[in-house]
């Protein structure tokens, strides 16, 4: 069949790009079978995505840090520390949520810039600078929670960020059994996507550039719309879109846009590809380092907020190992340690893959010891696959 043959050539040519999607699909399919469908249940998928939230935002920031050939180890405990600050600000200083959130996010940016300063201005390796941060924020969490222990956050609005769902339409307009607003949002997303793709195809044609053939193009639109549609339907079957998911999607969309469409994004990838050439091209490398780490700090703060809200409290161990989960997600998602290569959407998928493994194995009652081993193997496999396909495309 012509269509099938075409599709398989397109797929093979872009195996690197679609590899992630296929891997995710395979993992989900396996767990769905092994758990008799429980894995794909609305409730489980909804939970899984909510749990991914605080790692996903870190992975997005980490992607850019790794793209410019650096690393930030401090993000986990920074997130934990800022989460604690948020809790303290609400519980002890009695500040309103509307003040606390911007405050904490701003502190995150400052913290990121502080880590970046010696890196950008003096050439200190970021591994060392951020390891120092790791120790400092670890200590800082203990300091601020020492006297109180776990700080419980009673604020409903704040906790909704980690546990709540978007409201539904008035009862009269609902479809029974489904979260109707979620369905509408999903539908709008699909329409937006299709219109956008058609527009971009038209411009390309106006410039006489090569585009996918019509049947391939339609196939692509159908598949992606179907996926988004299915996901929406699954989520609508439980409580709809969670606020966490909304936040993650917004973050990923903004970062995707910045990295692929803007001058700043180009500059970041140029610095990652060859810092000296970038500098000689008029790009300030220190400035890019500061911006990237500043954004990492911002996202660490966001991660801290999401995590604290999810637990409805700030604990003394919050943030442990987040940095390594984020780094793993980024590598699974296809960033390269050599610099200059990696996509934020890939890292989001990487985070979802890693969390799916955890969630699926939990459902199957597999012990935590085996879970670590399996996740380690998947990380290794993903990177091997990535390097192997990259070599081939060279």
């Amino acid at each position: 069949m012509g269509l099938f043959k075409n599709a398989s050539t397109v797929l093979r040519a872009n195996i690197r790009e679609y590899g992630m999607y296929i891997a995710l699909f395979v993992i989900m399919a396996i767990f769905t079978i092994l758990t008799d469908g429980v894995f794909m249940s609305s409730r489980n998928i909804s939970n899984l995505l909510n749990q991914t939230g605080y790692i996903a935002v870190l992975a997005v920031g980490m992607t850019l840090v790794i793209v410019i050939r650096h690393i930030d180890l401090s993000v986990g405990f920074l997130a934990g520390f800022l989460g604690a600050i948020a809790a303290i600000a609400m519980v002890f200083w009695k500040l309103p949520v509307i003040v606390v959130i911007p405050l904490v996010l701003a502190l995150g940016v400052v913290a990121g810039l502080i880590t970046a300063l010696p890196v950008a201005k003096m050439g200190i390796p970021s591994f060392v600078a951020s390891l120092a941060g790791w120790l400092i924020y670890r200590g800082a969490i203990l300091l601020v929670t020492e006297s109180t222990g776990t700080i419980v956050v009673p604020n409903q609005t704040f906790n909704d960020i980690g546990n709540g769902f978007i409201p539904d339409l008035p009862v009269a307009m609902r479809i029974p059994g489904l979260h109707t607003l979620t369905l509408i949002v999903g539908l709008l997303a699909i329409i937006f996507y299709i219109v956008n793709e058609i527009r971009s195809r038209r411009t390309k044609q106006a410039y006489n550039f090569e585009v996918l053939s019509m049947d391939m193009f339609i196939l692509k639109l159908v598949i992606i719309s179907a996926l988004v549609g299915y996901l929406t339907w699954v989520l609508a079957g439980y409580q709809g879109l969670s606020w966490t998911l909304v936040i993650v999607l917004v973050v990923v969309a903004v970062y995707h846009f910045i990295t692929t469409q803007t001058v700043l994004g180009r500059h970041i990838y140029a610095v990652g590809g060859n810092p000296e050439a970038a500098e000689l091209s008029g790009i300030s490398v220190p400035r890019i380092i500061l911006i990237t780490f500043g954004s990492m700090g911002f996202l660490s703060a966001l991660s801290g907020i999401l995590f604290t809200a999810r637990l409805q409290s700030a604990t003394m161990t919050a943030g442990s190992l987040f940095e390594l989960d984020a780094i793993a997600a980024a590598y699974v998602g296809g960033v390269s340690a050599a610099g200059g290569v990696g996509k934020v959407v890939g890292s989001l998928l990487g985070a979802v893959v890693m969390l799916s493994l955890t969630s699926g194995m939990n459902l199957m009652n597999i012990g935590i010891a085996y879970q670590y081993v399996v996740r380690g193997l998947v990380l290794a496999l993903a990177v091997i696959f990535d390097v192997a396909t990259r070599r081939k495309s060279k």
């Binding site: 469409q261 803007t262 060859n274 000296e276 091209s281 790009i283």
Partner: protein, 506 residues
């Protein structure tokens, strides 16, 4: 006639979108110096990579017969075992290691599980004697100049009992003396029974050294010429390489230099905190509108440092001195400032700091001037493709598309991408650092033509070049640089090779 030591039969090698080698046949007799010439992208390096196993058996079609046997190399390791050594233009030494460690790297002399350092040192000294390099084998490679590093590479190859030595553009980064040295070493090696394949764009040296010359064009063998039969001459080579005759590779132009001084540099001094010494002393020079000035001199005389120190000083030298742009005093604190003020700098080391190899042609061309194709900081990628295509056509860059990764282009075409990138900045003053290094005659001619067109449009060009014919053929005025000082200034009418050389070495 004895059978050839090497015969490559009907070699075809394809990359996505490019047939780099199309049924190439190539044969080399024992003990000859066989030069391989051809335009940028003709397939010379690819052919040698096939031979040395970089592209393993199965990646290409055709046969390699070496010393009478069909070879199926799976990697460089196999070809090395067979006695073939290849030295790339980018040197493959470990800078932080000593010379003797480098020479035996990968085939250490052992005693049991340990390295026998005394024997290594002794053998290394012998190898260095063989290549006539008078240095202490315990110095670090990073402390040697490129010329000496090149010789260390050869010593390394010799230490493995090489029968066939391949050199890919070995003299591109060497000065005249060093080149002469290297060539006479190759002649010596020939007497000792080492067969040599040499790739070069410097036709003079090809003519002086070759026993045979094979010309490649567009991935095909055009001919093999025999020097003993008097078949090798510059005109014949050029004609076969580019497929047409070029009688004067420096295109004629009216030297109409404007009156206005666009750039003047006074009392320029620079100190490098890294090497802890003064690298530029008391430099004065100026350039007028529509003028080409050349900085002539030996490699390492400080010309690149001068260019970089003017171009926003990215290396962090400590600088004293003044720059005047059109009479107004200015200071650049970064390359960004310099670009904004209308300068552009095409670097000499395109791989090191000129291009972003993992990105594609279009991204490289637009990098230094993204604002031009962006609206409100959002890049218009469709316009970008068009811009890149314009430069691809006007500079005749050989690539299947502007979406090709720059690392996949041949050396000369990378240089053109680098040039395109800086032309897109539309500068008033263009600094070209060794603009034609590693570039074939045809493309040189094209680049010179472009330079002429640019100055006619009012641009001023500062050309740094170690090739005297190029300096004499292209510039309006010449400054000679030696050890970080300007030791002379000659208008083109008074300049001769002898005068320049004597100023450059004093």
């Amino acid at each position: 006639m004895t059978p050839p030591i090497l015969e490559m039969k009907n070699i075809t090698k394809e990359f996505p979108g490019v047939k780099a080698l199309n049924n190439v046949s190539f044969s080399v007799q024992k003990d000859e110096i066989h030069c391989l010439v051809g335009e940028n992208g003709a397939g010379k390096s690819t052919l040698m990579k096939v031979l040395s196993g970089v592209y393993p058996y199965g990646d290409y079609s055709g046969d390699i017969v070496f010393e009478g046997e069909v070879q199926k190399f799976r990697g460089i390791h196999d070809s090395e075992k067979a006695g073939i050594a290849i030295i790339y233009q980018e040197l493959a030494l470990v800078p932080e290691m000593t010379v003797y460690e480098n020479i035996f790297l990968g085939h250490e002399i052992r005693r049991g599980a340990l390295v026998n350092w005394n024997e290594t040192l002794k053998r290394a000294a012998e190898m260095l004697k063989k290549v006539k390099l008078d240095i202490n084998p315990t110095v670090k490679v990073k402390d040697l100049g490129v010329g000496k590093q090149q010789l260390v590479e050869i010593a390394k190859a010799l230490s493995r009992d090489v029968k066939l030595l391949i050199l890919d553009e070995p003299t591109a980064a060497l000065n005249e003396n060093e080149s002469e040295n290297l060539l006479s070493l190759i002649r010596d090696l020939k007497k000792q029974g080492v067969t040599c394949i040499l790739i070069s764009h410097k036709l003079k040296e090809v003519i002086s050294i070759a026993d045979k010359v094979t010309v490649l064009r567009d991935g095909q063998t055009i001919c093999t010429l025999d020097a003993d039969l008097g078949q090798v001459s510059e005109t014949v080579l050029i004609k076969n390489m580019v497929g047409r005759e070029i009688d004067n590779i420096y295109p004629k132009r009216e030297h109409v230099v404007g009156e206005e001084v666009v750039l003047e540099v006074r009392n320029w001094n620079a100190y490098s905190p890294i090497v802890e010494r003064d690298i530029l002393k008391d430099i004065h020079f100026n350039i007028k509108k529509g003028e080409i000035i050349a900085f002539a001199g030996l490699m390492g005389s400080g010309r690149t440092e001068l260019a970089k120190s003017l171009f926003g000083n990215p290396d962090g030298f400590r600088i004293q001195g003044e720059i005047y742009l059109k009479g107004k005093k200015v200071a650049f604190s970064s390359p960004h400032d310099a670009i904004e003020a209308g300068l552009a700098y095409v670097t000499e080391d395109r791989k090191g700091n000129g291009l972003i190899l993992i990105q594609d042609v279009k991204q490289n061309i637009t990098l230094a001037n993204l604002q031009e194709i962006a609206r409100r900081s959002i890049v218009n990628s469709n316009v970008e493709v068009n811009v890149a295509n314009d430069y691809r056509v006007s500079l005749n860059i050989k690539t299947p598309s502007v979406e090709q990764r720059v690392s996949n282009l041949s050396g000369g075409n990378q240089q053109k991408v680098s040039l395109g990138k800086w032309l897109f900045v539309k500068p008033d003053i263009l600094i070209l650092d060794e603009p034609t290094r590693g570039i074939d005659v045809g493309a040189k001619f094209e680049i010179y033509t472009i330079m002429n067109r640019l100055v006619e449009q009012g641009m001023s060009i500062i050309m740094i070049s170690s090739e005297l014919p190029e300096v004499l053929g292209m510039s309006d005025r010449i400054y000679i640089v030696s050890s970080g000082r300007i030791t002379g200034e000659l208008p083109i009418g008074e300049a001769t090779q002898e005068k320049i050389m004597s100023l450059a070495t004093n």
